[in-house]
């Protein structure tokens, strides 16, 4: 904590701020604004009611017009503050509006109807977080199904990715066989093929195998990643060969060496790949959109997209859902970012 504070307050100038300090703070502040501003806007907007969202000029915080329940009126009535005329300074509720005149009532004495010109009043705004945006999601739009689809695909794909990639990496890093380097280079070379190019062939394969509209259709095509193989192989190269020799002397089968020795020792690299895989899978959009056509098989990302396509867009729900979609990835990144930097550094340097 102390070191963090020291790092955050470190300056070049002693006593007073050097101009480079100003420059770096400005740079950091602008960066924060650019990177974090939209996210903040999104989160705050997700708490606005439908009316609050179309408010002009827009406000940062979720304000909306205050309403009051008045005896004799079934619905709560919108409140206005009177700025001129006889009732100046009072807060009145609007019963109805006729042209430039409004019929208003004092919530304290609901019997009397007062007439006020519309230019003599302004709305009473108040801060309210529309939590129902989130609460309603559970019931509406089968949000639960989408969430489950996303979680299932992300979790299964990540597990399978880790297993397959680590097996490949083990073979490529710890066995000597002819053509090993050629295979490794070939695997890496697939990074040069843009994913869009293999979209159609991939779809043919998926459809032939009957994987369309199944979560497995999303999972399988992406489990073998060159990035993952590369990352794990580079890490496994740092595991001493003597350990594997020792395990062989200890009667361990090759599978047991992999499972009991190599995998546990590769944990940091596996963590990095797991984080990457979760982020890729959770945010994946194009391929699921092609494979999954029925709305009950949609992932969250597809559901978000389909929201917009309808005649009316419920922006308040869309925003709330977007925030929920962002949360898992953000949480994972925040918690495990230490491993990410570590893993990238170790895989990159060696």
């Amino acid at each position: 904590m102390k070191r963090l504070l020291a790092m955050l307050t470190a300056r070049r100038g002693r006593g007073q701020l050097h101009w480079t300090d100003w420059a770096s703070y400005l740079h950091l502040f602008l960066g924060l604004l650019v990177m974090f501003g939209p996210v903040l806007w999104l989160v705050l907007s997700s708490f606005k009611s439908e009316a609050g969202l179309i408010e002009f000029p827009p406000r940062l915080l979720p304000y909306e017009q205050a309403r009051a329940s008045v005896d004799g009126y079934p619905q709560p009535l919108p409140l206005f503050r009177i700025t001129a005329g006889d009732f100046k300074g009072r807060e009145l509720a609007e019963v109805r509006r006729i042209g430039l005149q409004a019929q208003m009532v004092d919530p304290a004495s609901p019997g009397d109807i007062l007439r006020v010109p519309t230019q003599d009043r302004e709305r009473v705004m108040r801060l309210r977080f529309a939590l129902e945006n989130y609460a309603d999601l559970a019931g509406k739009f089968s949000f639960g199904t989408y969430l489950w689809n996303s979680v299932f695909i992300t979790a299964m794909a990540t597990l399978i990715t880790l297993l397959i990639n680590s097996m490949a990496a083990f073979a490529l890093s710890k066995y000597r066989f002819s053509g090993r380097d050629a295979i490794f280079v070939t695997i890496l070379a697939t990074l040069m093929i843009p994913p869009t190019i293999i979209l159609v062939p991939n779809f043919f394969i998926a459809s032939t195998l009957g994987l369309v509209n199944s979560p497995w259709g999303v999972i399988w095509p992406g489990v073998a990643t060159p990035t993952g193989v590369f990352l794990l192989r580079q890490y496994m190269l740092t595991i001493p060969d003597e350990l594997i020799d020792a395990a062989r002397m200890d009667n361990a089968s090759e599978w047991r060496i992999y499972w009991r020795i190599v995998l546990p020792l590769s944990a940091p690299a596996l963590a990095v790949l797991a984080i990457f895989s979760v982020m890729w899978r959770w945010n994946e959009f194009l391929w699921p959109m092609i494979v999954l056509n029925k709305s009950e098989t949609f992932t969250l990302q597809l559901a978000l997209n389909s929201f917009q396509g309808e005649l009316t867009t419920s922006w308040n729900y869309l925003l709330a859902m977007t925030v929920l979609t962002l949360l898992p990835v953000t949480a994972i990144f925040a918690l495990l970012q230490r491993y990410i930097t570590q893993g990238i550094a170790s895989a990159g340097v060696k």
């Binding site: 200890d250 009667n251 089968s253 944990a267």
Partner: protein, 364 residues
């Protein structure tokens, strides 16, 4: 206990041959040390015996059974690696039990064996620790323990002490020797340190560039090295070598050394002709100070090292070292008279091969 036999064992990596037809026999319970400079193939030979490297040609026999194609785990051997190769993510207990678990032994039996090995190596207090929390000596003992629990027919050690500091090395050396006495199992030990070889071995195998230079008991190698390489490798400080020319080949050989004169030796000159170039070797500790009448030489001291119990004097031109017991004071540049006893002189021919000593009968 087991016997080990190597017959014309060859190892090739692609085109390069690193082991050239090694023959060797280790009897039951013997402590055999492979010694040689780095790159001589001693570790490769060990890895071939334990099955981690394939044999390109020749046979390896354990108890008379050819094991060339038997996988490492089934040869009944255990190896202690130079880096110890302890599994860093397992506790000491798990490190010791891993091999037994792979043999699918019942739990209580594994536990009993692990505890027994831990007791023998004084590791009981450390069983729940991970290797990173151990000192070098403790790690070394765990590595040995991992070999012991498997009750192997032969123990293999690959430079096990090279990562320890000098004091610990002496201590572990005697622990390994004691272990050998107690278990009576064959041990094959690889080292580049001739002191380790001399102190521990029943039989030393000196290797150079993939060939066996000499096999024998430690003192045999010290007293009667077969060639100049073995003579230079075994013994510390190193044997002195002086280039010379044969003056007399009949009976005992006489060697003329430039700037010193003729030195008479106790070596049979059979097959030599006067004028042939030879190398005269004598160990620093065998040179005596002072005159003896014959075989004398005078040198100017270049440097002296006082060890307390012994003094090493270095001479330049020709480069020569002498070690004498006790404390001798010598100034730089001071001329010293030295005596080279004939029975301590070795003579090597132009190919580096040692000439045989004259038999007792003909010495008269």
């Amino acid at each position: 206990m087991a016997s080990l036999q190597l017959r014309q064992v060859v190892k090739r990596f692609h085109e390069t041959t690193v082991i050239h037809g090694v023959d060797l026999e280790a009897r039951e319970g013997e402590f055999v040390v492979f010694v040689g400079p780095s790159g001589c193939g001693k570790s490769t030979l060990l890895r071939m015996i334990c099955g981690l490297e394939e044999v390109s040609a020749g046979d390896i026999l354990i108890d008379g059974v050819r094991v060339n194609d038997v996988p490492a785990a089934r040869r009944g051997l255990a190896m202690v690696f130079q880096s110890y190769a302890l599994y860093p993510h397992m506790t000491v207990y798990q490190n010791l039990s891993f091999g037994l678990e792979n043999l699918r032994l019942p739990r209580p039996e594994i536990d009993a064996k692990v505890r027994e090995a831990a007791r023998m190596l004084r590791l009981e207090q450390l069983l729940e620790r991970r290797p990173t929390a151990l000192s070098g000596g403790q790690r070394q003992r765990v590595a040995i323990g991992r070999a012991i629990v498997r009750e192997p027919r032969i123990f293999l050690f690959d430079e096990p002490l090279s990562n320890l500091d000098a004091e610990l090395r002496v201590q572990m050396r005697s622990e390994i020797a004691q272990l050998h006495d107690r278990l009576g199992t064959n041990m094959i030990y690889v080292t580049h340190d001739q002191v380790e070889a001399m102190t521990m071995a029943d039989k030393i195998v000196v290797l150079r560039a993939g060939r066996v230079e000499q096999v024998g008991a430690p003192l045999e190698l010290y007293n009667a090295p077969a060639n100049q390489f073995v003579a230079g490798f075994i013994g510390s400080p190193r044997m002195n070598f002086l280039e010379g020319i044969v003056t007399e080949a009949e009976g005992a050989v006489g060697v003329a050394l430039e700037g010193i004169g003729t030195i008479r030796t106790d070596v049979s000159g059979e097959g030599l002709t006067p004028g042939a170039p030879v190398t005269l070797g004598i160990r620093p500790e065998h040179v005596a100070l002072g005159h003896c009448g014959s075989n004398d030489a005078a040198f100017a001291v270049a440097q002296s090292e006082q060890l307390g119990n012994a003094t090493t004097l270095f001479f330049a031109a020709p480069s020569f070292a002498v070690q004498v017991a006790g404390q001798v004071s010598a100034r730089r540049g001071e001329a010293m008279k030295l005596n080279l006893p004939p029975e301590r002189c070795h003579v090597f021919d132009a190919a580096g091969k040692a000439l045989p000593r004259r038999t007792k009968g003909s010495a008269a």
